[in-house]
Symmetry: C3
Subunit: 376 residues, 3 copies
């Protein structure tokens, strides 16, 4: 993440009915559409993203394409179609579309009828993700793809891909990830910690691209519940979480770890037995009320032991189940109380900062589209 610090964390309440305003999604950015391994061989993956239905498939060279999931002819979904060479055949009347959305075959005739092309979305594949750009395609610069390179360092970090579906607005999930104070309550027996931890106030910084939240809890008695039994050392623990949200695309990268107390982690020295983690957590809106959650939890120890990686990841997943249950319950109450505002409490600096960077990005994007539309 860029290191331009713009520290101006809002101390006012965030309105719960933000999401009633016009445009709830950022469009001009790369979103994760799928894990790379979800699209293979002749599989056509159907997924709704930003309220639009999309199909993903690979051409014969393995390159991924994304098309709208709608045949131009009679609107049959292409996801019920068939992979064919470099394209997809609609299995209602047989039209074939290539990865650019061009209709390239119409049965029973040479050439194709006019107006049969459909929309294609720019895609890219990097760090085990398939990325998709659903905004102005002129801006789809691959150099803007967020860094998730922890997933591309075999031998240094082990991890496995996970996916979870939330019946909730992506902003409620982002709020949750930016907020450490819920760990003690929601994750009492999983990711959480002591009452003492509940009282530690994290440091919150706003950068040009997003938000960083840092929390150190030194000299704890034990590692977090999810790590019990996996300890690589004995005695007191220094723990930390450093969370970077990149606002565009809802990209959360978290460095965290547990090291022997006083071994120098806070000053940047990691002794060999320090347990280091890097979590990649990405939310892609499905609709205004539902979200895709792609995540991994890379670790630097017990490398080359997939069973360990699965067991560790399963423990983290338990915590996300707890979040999912809470956030989906919250969504119902939010929906029924559109006329009321969230109360702001002292622990809200992190999530308020996230909301603020989002509001700024949405405003800039609205301005971009307005001026583009005026120029046309």
């Amino acid at each position: 993440m860029s290191t331009t610090l713009i520290n101006n964390v809002p101390k006012t309440a965030v309105n719960s009915n933000d999401h009633l305003t016009g445009n709830p999604f950022l469009l001009n950015c790369w979103y994760v559409g799928a894990w790379s391994n979800e699209v293979h061989d002749d599989k056509i993956l159907a997924r709704q993203l930003l309220s639009k239905r999309v199909v993903f498939f690979r051409d014969e060279a393995g390159k991924v394409s994304a098309l709208e999931d709608r045949c131009s002819h009679r609107f049959a979904p292409l996801s019920t179609g068939r992979h064919t060479g470099n394209g997809v055949r609609c299995m209602y009347h047989g039209l074939v579309f290539n990865g650019k959305g061009n209709c390239v075959e119409e049965p029973g005739v040479k050439g194709v009828s006019r107006g049969t092309d459909i929309q294609a979305y720019p895609t890219a594949e990097k760090d085990a993700f398939i990325w998709i750009w659903m905004g102005d395609p002129d801006l789809a610069d691959e150099s803007l793809i967020p860094d998730c390179s922890y997933q591309s360092q075999p031998g240094k970090w082990d991890w496995e891909p996970r996916y979870r579906y939330f019946n909730a607005d992506y902003r409620l999930i982002a709020d949750n990830l930016l907020d450490f104070s819920h760990l003690t309550f929601v994750h009492e027996n999983t990711l959480g910690g002591s009452k003492k931890i509940a009282n530690i106030k994290p440091k919150t910084e706003i950068y040009d691209k997003g938000v960083r939240i840092t929390r150190w809890y030194l000299n704890e008695d034990k590692v977090a519940p999810y790590l019990r039994g996996f300890e690589t050392f004995e005695g007191a623990v220094d723990r930390w979480n450093i969370y970077d949200l990149e606002t565009k695309g809802n990209i959360f990268n978290m460095d965290s770890g547990s090291a022997p107390a006083g071994s120098g982690a806070q000053e940047g020295t990691f002794v060999p037995e320090a347990m280091l983690f890097h979590a990649t957590q990405i939310i892609t809106p499905e609709t205004e009320q539902s979200s895709h959650f792609f995540w991994s939890y890379a670790h630097n120890f017990n490398l080359g032991d997939p069973k360990f990686t699965t067991m560790l990841t399963d423990r983290i997943a338990e915590g996300f189940e707890e979040d999912k249950e809470m956030i989906e319950a919250q969504q119902i109450i939010v929906n029924e109380n559109q006329d009321k505002r969230f109360a702001y409490i002292h622990f809200d600096r992190g999530l308020s900062a996230g909301r603020k960077t989002l509001a700024k990005a949405l405003a800039e994007e609205a301005e971009y589209f307005a001026s583009k539309s005026a120029a046309e």
Copy 2:
């Protein structure tokens, strides 16, 4: 019920689309929110009442409180929270609310942030019910709580608490309870009776607080089907139902019974073998299209035999199942025919009287809120 007789039963049709008009619920009255035994120990009972979600819980002294089911902070439902001493802790970020709705604890800080209090509703506990007042709290006078004292006379009346959920507007259920003519058809094999009974016209009286409906059927061959096998005497039967609706709160108290024919019941003399009943039936709206139904069926014979009470109550419950099936089917047709009016037939005096008292009470309440609002 007050004995001021205001006899003016409407003979005109009641419009089925009454419930499209502004305010379908009376607010300034005591409603039954729960049976007392539904809220015990550390249980937090969640229930939607008059379209608002409420939680009930007891403090350490056993006093019941009712709060809106919404944490002020990020709108997590308190019903997923945890009972703590005299309050409830939201298990998202740990805020604690007392029975008055005050936020009394915010983790990690002394005192609490501003604007964190939530709404509390006046409650009271009487005659095995938890009562709740959801209108203007200044008017929540406990002396207005309807009399359900048959449930507080052990040794004289035996009964057990029952609850049933209806996917129907409370007014359709009240219509049903005020109408004896459906017994022959809906309850042919349960609560019903002969064709002769179907033709008996009940007496309907309007009082200041509600409606009384009285029906005597003298010298019947048998008791009602649900009493067969339980007879305390042989031979012909005088039967009666005297139904009091207290409009505010939808409180139905019914005295009914079966006595040996000619033994003087109609004149007020009850021989020892007379089978007397007192039914308490209360409808509390959940939403405009769904209702809670709390009921008991007290009897004055076979006392101290809980199995008998359960068996008798089960038989009555069969009849309510028949009502539920009919009323929920009716609700669907009512919803699809908002432009049409119910036809008025000669047996409608009871239910029309009920609708009339309700319309009057709703109008008075609208006037109260309008003048209060003007005064502010």
Copy 3:
């Protein structure tokens, strides 16, 4: 079907959002409401037709009536009522309605209250169908009932009645039936055929009452997949489909067959071993988004063998399951893309002709109701 040829097949796209315009159903025509054998003895058949709930029942002489499924009194559905002599008794309060919709009995009173009659719809029974007229009853002329007489020629044609429910607009189903080009793709392994067949362009003719589509495929290697094992002759095959859509009522009559290649079928000569079929396929809208599909598949060979008829019909039914799956998937995408138009391709002449005749009939009917309303 009338033989007045009006050949003017549109070559422009049909707008997918046709069905957002005012009146999606033709009213002044006979629709199939049920198979005759669905209404028998004391059965009351409830079915929603053109967004209205209807009950069918027979009087003591066997004559079928159709009433709205709504008691005039408190809107209980008559479908939960009881057949009684020549009428239906509402089992809420006991009102009885005859086949003309007149309330003929009100319990406990001589005569009946005013305003208790309900709506009856003209019905007729012909060719194993119960027909219903839901438009202006003055126009309900039984001579307008479409011809389905293949179902009334025992000894010449064998068939059995089938019903299927579609979660789709009737127009999407009609599109499908008028389109042969989907057979190769949707029905690859059932009703379909070779790639060669996919490329044959059918002849489309518009008549005053509807559309005729004709397709001959001469000298095919084999019969269609669904006929394999049933062949009555060996060697090459001439196959044909001649499809008549009668727009009013969505009546599809299809003559089809397979004859030895060169045996003269195209010229009207059918050798004894020719396999002839007559399909009756009728769509009656349930709502704007759901439809009833009544169909039979008469055959002229293996007569008197009900097991064969069932086996053959089951094979066709497999094909309709494939259509149902595709059309219901299409409906979802159509609903989500009301702002977009179907692209027109060269194979769309048939379905575009069907849409055109429907648009014309709807416009004429709108004019009829407008002038009638002006005259009143």
